[in-house]
């Protein structure tokens, strides 16, 4: 067995102590940590740069699209405006009351022994209906019944097309003067007929809520 003699014992010990110098080790650790932190920072910076470049790409894309979007939004708003306005105007047009059919119906009701002297018609606001006032004279052996025939005729004709029709005499009075109808002196009556009706059906009242019977109440 070979014998090893350490003749430099003190020098080797000093060397080892130098190597184990805590300050040196601390500085090395510090440098290592610093390097790791630097690398971590560099990695983060790289990621941030990448994200920022993506952001600028997206911003460029948005800058290209934005005017088109603004124009599309404006167009949508305009179109919606046109659609709603047209719808409201169409509703207004559809809800109009037409007088020509009423005039036609009145003309169909007038018999030769009846004369109209005035017609006053009015559309009431808020869909409350229409009123017509007819004044005239009837000449017949029974002038009142001639006027009544006119009233009934008006009711029949108007009820065919309108709702809630009411045809009533406001006045019906005999006249003292006689009319000459075909050389025959005929008694006369003056009348005023008041008509009310609706163009559309009146809204039905909503039924009263019925009470729901619970099981425990029935027992």
């Amino acid at each position: 067995m070979a014998l090893h003699l350490n003749l430099l014992h003190e020098e080797i010990l000093a060397e080892r102590q130098r190597q184990r110098d805590p300050l040196k080790i601390g500085l090395l650790v510090l440098a290592g940590c610093g390097a790791i932190l630097f690398l971590y920072y560099a990695w983060n910076a790289y990621q941030t740069i990448e994200i920022k470049s993506e952001l600028s790409k997206v911003q460029n894309e948005w800058a290209k699209i934005e005017p088109q979007v603004t124009a599309a939004q404006k167009k949508s708003a305009d179109l919606n405006n046109v659609i709603t306005t047209t719808r409201v105007l169409d509703g207004y047009i559809d809800n109009r009351f037409f007088w020509a059919p009423v005039l036609e119906k009145i003309s169909h009701c007038v018999a030769p022994n009846v004369q109209l002297t005035a017609i006053e018609g009015m559309v009431l606001d808020e869909d409350k209906g229409v009123t017509v006032s007819i004044e005239g004279v009837a000449a017949a052996r029974e002038p009142r019944s001639a006027a009544e025939d006119l009233r009934q005729m008006l009711f029949e004709q108007l009820a065919k097309s309108y709702h809630d029709v009411k045809v009533e005499f406001r006045t019906l009075e005999d006249l003292e003067t006689l009319a000459n109808v075909g050389g025959v002196r005929t008694p006369m009556a003056r009348y005023n007929i008041f008509i009310t009706f609706r163009n559309t059906e009146a809204p039905k009242p909503t039924p009263a809520p019925t009470r729901v019977k619970h099981r425990d109440e029935s027992s």
Binding site: L30, E54, L55, L103, S107, L116, M122
Partner: protein, 189 residues
């Protein structure tokens, strides 16, 4: 493990190094890494926002295209309704129009007078105004009146007759004297 014994000088240096290290970490996180990650987060939020805007804008543009297709009928109808309101003040063009309309209906005398004008309560009709007119026909026979009223109601969709009054002409009982109250909806110009 035998830890080397530290001299007071070494301990002092070590504690100074540790404090320096802590200070370095503070500076690193607060002044370097902190702002960096903050700006990265802001950029990510901005990207998400822009991408959301881009995605929704594509839908918006598609919606506008679809709406345009759907609104074709409404636009045509709206344009047709607009043409019923010529340029200029209604009092300047409506009475002559009424006069020529009744002339075409073989009713020579027709006078239209403006009574009042009102705005609509409906917000959708903010660009339109209601004009109330009185149309006087001093001499007309009943049949011509019926035909004329029918034609007027059919050719003027934005005109509503609210009141009609028929009385005989005293000297010529075969003719009637008629007053018509009408409301027209006219676009504001």
């Amino acid at each position: 493990m035998n830890l080397p014994k530290l001299t007071p000088d070494q301990i002092k240096k070590l504690s100074l190094s540790v404090m320096g290290f802590i200070f370095l970490l503070y500076v690193y996180f607060n002044f370097f890494l902190g702002p960096l990650s903050k700006s990265r987060k802001e950029a990510q939020v901005a990207i998400a926002d822009r991408q959301h805007k881009i995605a929704s804008s594509k839908g918006e543009m598609q919606k506008a295209t679809n709406l345009e297709r759907q609104a074709k009928d409404a636009m045509t109808r709206f344009a047709a309704l607009k043409t019923l309101s010529p340029e200029g003040a209604p009092i300047a063009w409506f009475p002559p129009r009424v006069k020529s309309f009744f002339t075409d209906q073989h009713i020579d005398k027709a006078v239209a007078r403006l009574e009042s004008n009102t705005t609509f309560k409906e917000a959708e009709l903010g660009g339109w105004t209601k004009y109330n007119w009185v149309i006087e026909l001093p001499q007309v026979d009943y049949t011509s009146l019926g035909d004329a009223v029918a034609a007027l109601e059919n050719t003027e969709p934005l005109l509503t007759i609210t009141k009609i009054s028929v009385h005989p002409v005293v000297e010529e009982p075969q003719f009637q004297q008629v007053a018509i109250a009408a409301t027209t909806v006219i676009q504001k110009r």
